[in-house]
Amino acid sequence: MHHLKSTSWWPTSLLLSGPLLVLALVVYLFGGEVLQRILIVLFINLTMVLGLQIFMGNSGVVSFAQIGFMGIGAYSSALFSMSPQAKAMALRNLYSFLVPVQVPFVVAVIIGGIMAALVAALVGYPLMRLSGAAAVIATFALLIIVHTVLINWSEVTNGPRTLFGLEAYTTLWVSVASGILFLILALWFKETRLGLQLRASREDEAAAASIGINIVWVRWIAFVLAAFVTGVAGALWAHFITSFSPLAFYLPQTFLIISMAIIGGSASVSGAVVGAVAVTAIFEGVRGIENAINISTVFPFTVSGLTEVCLSIAMILILILRPSGILGSRELPT
């Protein structure tokens, strides 16, 4: 049984965002470019896993569709942030009415989030009746459908080829702002009336329904909100990496954010933060070792896949030894 009492959200906000801000400041002042990039990745990952936590953590229903929303956010923000010249280069078959459109970066990011939320709102409502394995397969099907559309709708995505020519607008402080903002949002949402109802439905669907909670409705709101957050994360990632293809939004990425939620503990926002930090650290650390091995040419072949092997072993161990994650459903000060 998880904690279900309503608590104030601001002590946890301060406790979690304080160290993150200090870390960002230290890296900004003293870290090199590599460290700064790793930190940007960390805060984008954090935004993404917070999106997952808002839905999965509170409702107990696993969503495999999040990375699809990330892709929608990435592509739709790109369409609105790129200059007409860049679009003429990268997207030759783009619908002509979209070519001249260009808005400021922040607006484009919000549009990315809204597009993801719109898709989630349209297809999500009927899906919210499902839970357990059926929900997993349904959201998985949704991910595959979004992926298929991204790969084939070449007018707006350049098809399976790489979309290039985005400006690198996502600086360290942009990513920090997003991470902290959504951290506070997730903590606040959890303690709202809606968040409590959602968590009640996670503990016992039948009991929650019997006291008048409209489970489909509360899940739907969380799903749409989560899609918005993930869409924003996708938009930020797009303007950090600046060129990408639909392959970036599929199973490996899904595995990464689910492992963050599971390792940290998906039922609490603190768990999401711990998971994002731990997994990003493992991922970047092992990848650094992988690169060092490959550069030193100790082995006659290149090493790849080691990072994912380490992550999946970590995840399996956590699932066996501590199925509710490092933090379980606890928020940090307690």
């Binding site: 107990g60 696993v62 297809v123 009927p126 899906l127 009746r129 499902l130 357990g132 394995a133 059926a134 997993v136 397969i137 349904a138 998985f140 099907a141 949704l142 595959i144 459908i145 298929t148 559309v149 790969i151 084939n152 039948a206 199973l251 490996p252 595995f255 689910i258 492992s259 599971i262 090493v303 790849s304 896949g305 080691l306 994912e308 092997v309 992550l311 999946s312 072993i313 995840m315 399996i316 699932l319 066996i320 199925p323």
Partner: protein, 299 residues
């Protein structure tokens, strides 16, 4: 070209693809029925069998023996995964088990990337997989025909096993009501291990035909079979072995049918259509076409 010819060709193609899909779905459902575990790592059993084919296939050993060893490797891997990864989380929620299998799947894929190669490698398969023969004016691929025959034979044998042997009956009883089955003295570990062994065996057989069709094996060779198995199982009914078979044949017919009927511009979206159907089935008939006996949750 006459209509009869087209219809016959369609039936042959749909049946042979459907038979293969039915085997894929059965391997998934036989474990789900007992453990409520949606096993994402099922596709990696196909991969393990495939890599065994790759490594031994080029040597002097006759292909049939290599095939048997490959199936054996899939069975062993399946049993090993059950023991190491799935048994410890058996008491946990369905979601925890599912995510465990997702992690196991990622682990095996990336081990293949790490230790073998990220790229797919060509496998030498017997030439009959790519040969065709003609009956009247019908073109029949020998590989397709073999998969049709083998799937029918295996379905028959599996039915016999499940209906006539004690272990088979225990398996079906466990799929119906696992707690009750244990109460009457059936050993849980034995039943579950049997289910995993059968699942591995089916994955091994699937691998022979699947990799025979593809002609190559790579770390992600199991993705399509596992997706197909999901779809077929969901459509047919996750709790029913009969449903899995029906779902497999339906999906085979649907795949071949969409290929024929969709206009060229929409053909690339075929996968999206198939998965949209999955969503519709989940929404309107979540228990699938064939209902299991104990689907409703009691409060």
């Amino acid at each position: 070209m006459n209509v009869l010819h087209d219809v016959l060709q369609f039936i042959i193609n749909a049946l042979s693809l459907g038979g293969l899909y039915a085997l894929m779905a059965l391997g998934l459902v036989i474990v789900y029925g007992i453990l409520r575990l949606v096993n994402f790592a099922y596709g990696e059993l196909v991969m393990v069998a495939g890599y065994t084919l790759l490594m031994l296939g080029a040597g002097p050993i006759p292909w049939l023996i290599v095939a048997v060893i490959s199936i054996g490797m899939a069975v062993l891997t399946s049993l090993l995964l059950e023991r190491v990864a799935f048994r410890p989380v058996r008491q946990a929620s369905a979601t925890t088990m599912l995510i465990t299998s997702f992690a196991v799947s990622a682990l095996l894929q990336n081990m293949a990337i790490l230790f073998i190669s990220p790229r797919a490698k060509a496998v030498t398969t017997p030439s009959f997989f790519t040969e065709n023969f003609q009956v009247g004016d019908l073109l029949i691929s020998k590989g397709n025909l073999a998969s049709l025959v083998v799937s029918l034979v295996l379905l028959g044998l599996l039915t016999l096993f499940l209906r006539r042997t004690l272990l088979g009956i225990a398996l079906r009883a466990a799929a119906d009501d696992f707690v009750m089955t244990r109460l009457v003295g059936i050993r849980a570990n034995q039943v579950i291990a049997t289910a995993f062994a059968i699942s591995g065996f089916l994955a091994g057989v699937v691998a022979l035909f699947w990799i025979g069709r593809l002609g190559s094996v790579g770390p992600f060779v199991g993705s399509t079979p596992v997706l197909v198995a999901f779809v077929a199982a969901v459509v047919g009914g996750m709790e029913s072995l009969t449903g899995a078979v029906i779902g497999g044949y339906l999906l085979g017919a649907l795949t071949v049918g969409l290929q024929l009927m969709l206009p060229q511009s929409l053909l690339d979206y075929r996968q999206a259509f198939v998965f949209a159907i999955v969503l519709l089935v989940l929404l309107f008939r979540p228990q699938g076409l064939v209902r299991g006996t104990a689907t409703a949750e009691r409060v």
